[in-house]
């Protein structure tokens, strides 16, 4: 595979999480060798030049986000690493947290240096017990070795990291929900503006980035922003972790150069669709991104522009493969249940609307739908999307609109025949890898 291993630069079967192993891979050398000769602005400049876009889902360029911090504030600046990883289909940050935690820590120290943050938080979803343990161990090791704490090894700078355990709520993955959660509140989201860069955690300027974004920073500073920019495409630079699941022979976490052809990835790297079935549908970037039909996927490359052109989004890089023989209405029923369950309840359109969406899809699946239901679904999404504080409402609408549009025949068949043509169940695939 021509793809580079920037984040997965280790033997996937070894004990890679220790400081000793990370040092063997030249870990912390960026911090101890490059930083003494670099000013914070230079670090920020390299990240800007790299063009790296946020890997949490929204794809906002990290360097530009960092430069939104007010220059004249005398409040402390906080850096938060978002390890909530709740978007269904996504399990890529877990690999970094469990297998390569020191790379994340080094990235956070470098980012903290660039934005003048003295205190950082790593927020990890509560279910990730093993990741929490590994990251805490790594943080402790880094303190003992002098990479964290007062006056870091090789630099005239201090940086602290606190690991924070989540407690189960998808909406906390949103940056403002996450800050409320660290403050010990319900994880409900906040109105923007003020943006976190101006008024975030404890009302102080705050930068929040995804695990993968921050873990890429050591490589960027070590090799230079231009070198990172030369990987991938013009508008989607660098490598991306992909977590692929569903009806695929070799599910798992892969690292590819952005711009990699999707069908090559599916068929060559991941072994194609399970059970020699035909591909029926692909959700390309986590459950919130619109579904694609096989013909939409033929020509796409894995990067922000190409998937957007096809009508969806690279999102968090979570690819879901659905094989022929699966019921799309049932699949949507599972997804709408999720958004209804996870709505934080602040905004009426989302709190009520997601419930209606689920109820209607459920009755279509049960064979009790009416033809008007299809228009009803799309009229409800119109009233949810962009009428809420946070994008959870929008996220719920992406799948509904796209499933109904792209698999309309199947919805109509459910309604006309008064039942599920697939027997209301998902097919069971015997073949496992």
């Amino acid at each position: 595979m021509a793809n580079q291993n920037i984040l997965l630069n280790f033997d996937r079967n070894g004990a890679n999480h220790t400081l000793e192993n990370y040092l063997k891979r030249k870990g912390y050398s960026t911090l101890s060798e490059k930083i003494p000769n670099m000013k914070p602005e230079q670090v920020l400049d390299e990240v800007k030049k790299s063009g790296i876009r946020g890997r949490g889902g929204a794809g906002f360029p990290a360097g530009i986000k960092w430069s939104f911090l007010p220059k004249d504030s005398d409040k402390p600046v906080y850096l938060i690493c978002n390890g909530d990883e709740g978007e269904p289909g996504t399990f890529k940050d877990r690999v970094i947290l469990e297998e390569n935690p020191h790379m994340l820590i080094e990235g956070m120290i470098l980012a903290a240096y660039a934005i003048n943050a003295k205190h950082c938080y790593i927020y990890i979803r509560g279910e990730y017990g093993f990741a929490l343990q590994r990251v805490q161990q790594a943080v402790d090791e880094a303190y003992r070795a002098g990479y964290l704490g007062k006056k870091l090894t090789g630099a005239n700078y201090s940086c602290d990291i606190t690991v924070h355990k989540g407690a189960g709520a998808y909406v906390v993955g949103d940056e403002t929900g996450l800050m409320n959660s660290i403050e010990g509140k319900k994880g409900q989201t906040r109105n923007k503006p003020p943006f976190p860069a101006v008024e975030g955690l404890y009302q102080c300027p705050t930068i929040i980035n995804n695990v993968e974004t921050l873990a890429s920073v050591p490589w960027i500073i070590d090799h230079g922003g231009a070198a990172y920019h030369s990987i991938g495409t013009e508008k989607s630079s660098g490598t991306k972790l992909l977590s692929i699941s569903g009806h695929v022979r070799k599910p798992g976490v892969y690292e590819v150069d952005l711009g990699y052809p999707f069908m090559d990835f599916l068929n060559k790297d991941c072994g194609g669709v399970i059970g020699n079935r035909k591909l029926k549908a692909v959700i390309p970037g986590g459950s919130s991104t619109p579904v694609l039909r096989p013909e939409d996927c033929e020509k796409i490359t894995i990067d922000y522009e190409s998937i957007a052109e096809a009508g969806s989004s690279l999102g968090s890089g979570a690819i879901l493969i659905i094989a022929e023989g699966s019921c799309m209405v049932k699949t949507l029923e599972v997804l709408t249940h999720f958004y209804h369950h996870e709505s934080c309840g602040q905004c009426t359109p989302c709190r009520e609307g997601t419930g209606w969406l689920h109820k209607i899809v459920k009755r279509i699946e049960a064979g009790q739908g009416k033809m008007e239901d299809l228009d009803l679904l799309t009229s409800i999404t119109k009233h949810i999307a962009f009428h809420t504080i946070c994008p959870l409402g929008d996220a719920a609408c992406g799948p509904v609109d796209s499933f109904v549009k792209k698999f309309k025949d199947e919805f109509i068949e459910h309604i006309k025949t008064g039942g599920c043509p697939f027997g209301g169940k998902f097919v069971r695939f015997q073949e496992r890898v």
Binding site: G89, F91, R94, G129, A167, S287, T331, F338, K425, F429
Partner: protein, 169 residues
């Protein structure tokens, strides 16, 4: 007008936070810029001690963090990981989200309800198992997935479920 307190908050019993937990919570509260940041970590500690978050501990916690029981109750009920009532010795949480569903989560759920003679949300009469459905656990590549207490079990089928249950005494 004052809202009447939730019945959940008025139950009385003899749950006391252990000295160790109180010390840890006090230390944590001092380590954050705002005391209240220790709330969620504290609730985790309480659940570690009792297996759930008993109502009387909320009052104790409110005193430690200088907040009100109702504020804590709001937070407690917002997050799915906190148990509002006792759960079995083994809390089985099965993922019902999309990747797991596509690969047979329903079969595993049906199998477990039959085998344990309980419905989803219930606890077996001997207090050994509680069965809950949860959303994506972030292990979709190994679907179907379940958690028992804080351990993940992946790539499940009926045979594997049998083997796992046998090891739980």
């Amino acid at each position: 007008m004052s809202a009447s307190p939730s019945p959940y908050l008025t139950q009385e019993s003899e749950y006391n936070l252990s000295e160790d937990v109180v010390t840890k919570i006090t230390e944590m509260a001092a380590s954050f810029p705002e005391k209240n940041s220790a709330l969620i970590p504290a609730l985790h500690l309480i659940q570690d001690q009792f297996g759930w978050v008993p109502p009387p501990t909320i009052k104790q916690l409110a005193q430690l963090l200088k907040t009100t029981p109702n504020k804590i109750y709001g937070v407690l009920t917002f997050y799915t990981m906190f148990n509002l009532k006792p759960v079995g010795k083994y809390h089985i949480q099965i993922c019902r989200n999309v990747s797991c569903s596509l690969l047979g989560a329903k079969h595993i759920i049906d199998y477990l309800t039959k085998k344990l003679h309980i419905q989803v949300g219930e606890t077996t009469a001997d207090g050994k198992f509680t069965l809950t459905l949860v959303e994506c656990l972030g292990a979709c590549g190994m679907a179907p997935v379940m958690m028992i207490n804080d351990k993940y079990y992946e790539n499940l089928d009926e045979k594997k479920v049998d083997q796992i249950l046998k090891t739980l005494k």
